[in-house]
Point group: C2
Chain length 176, copies 2
Amino acid sequence: MSLRHAILAMLDIEKGSGYDLVKRFDQSVSYFWAASYQQIYRELQKLESEALLESEEVIQQGKPDKKIYEVTPDGINELQKWLEKPAKAMKIKEPLLIKIYAGDLADTALLIEEICQHKAAHSVRLQQYQEMSELLINLEQPLRSKYFLPHQTLKLGIKIEEAWLEWAEETLEAIT
Amino acid sequence: MSLRHAILAMLDIEKGSGYDLVKRFDQSVSYFWAASYQQIYRELQKLESEALLESEEVIQQGKPDKKIYEVTPDGINELQKWLEKPAKAMKIKEPLLIKIYAGDLADTALLIEEICQHKAAHSVRLQQYQEMSELLINLEQPLRSKYFLPHQTLKLGIKIEEAWLEWAEETLEAIT
DNA sequence: GTTGCATATTCAACAAATTGAATATAGGCT
DNA sequence: AGCCTATATTCAATTTGTTGAATATGCAAC
């Protein structure tokens, strides 16, 4: 049950709407936490009902209105209590690797095509992460300090994407 | 719903008991699929009830009896059908990274300790993977061919563990 | 002699995630 | 006018996954 803690951590760094959070999960922490928009919106409601978050409605022109969520002191407390307990083990699910594992039963051409597609997707993500990293490097104090640890996590994302790309190239060569 | 396909893929390569499978998931494919023993045993029952697997009871001396599961032609068919469809996106959950992300609210000493522990765990896993890789390299034909693709997936596991270890060292340096 | 580990499996209650539909504003495209 | 995309959010049914307990054999350590 750490989706709530992921949300609290991200809103603690910077408050925002559910829609913002969905994008942040998708674009900047997808190498360590996967969450769908339905999950995020549901958890935001739950967190607000438990007073760990509070929201402010923002009326917009040209766009639908939105709710900006912010972590409450109780929310910070909950996050801190969670931080004291040992972290649970990583969990990963990568269907493409199952496909490759069982690849002898598959059409090689299809397999190659899918590896190429995934490689392209990882390449795009690597670029995103690198751009974000550039932004964080060029921040002025005190923002740079504030983003020091998120930036550190981003560096793992970059390393993992690089490893993936390297591997995809080698695998494509090995298969053909 | 690809736990079933992961199980089918692994039993297709080599038949075995639930207990064997649990170990294989844990020791050799944990970088692309996480599954608990309860999940695996439940899914084995379901797969057998759908006739995608069949089991044979093996009476053992000195150890409890066991059931060896084997993929049926229907099971192969199910796996092949699944292989034709595009793979779903990877999903990952790494609570430790949330901790680091929100690390400003945590005790730095605790954070360092946990990174060290995780680093040690990744180091052990890397060694396991490397040993398994050695075994696969030294196989004689036709086994070597059979394990070519599983071996290829293992190489990603190794790259990812290496990336993780590198990152953990850099992070420990950066934090202290 | 009983505690702990490795082997081997099952069940049930509960929590979390997925799928799919629904709603609403507004700009741009054909 | 109708369609697509981006913004923004909600709900409900179903499927998955987690937690925790239970059972059983046998070896080794203390």
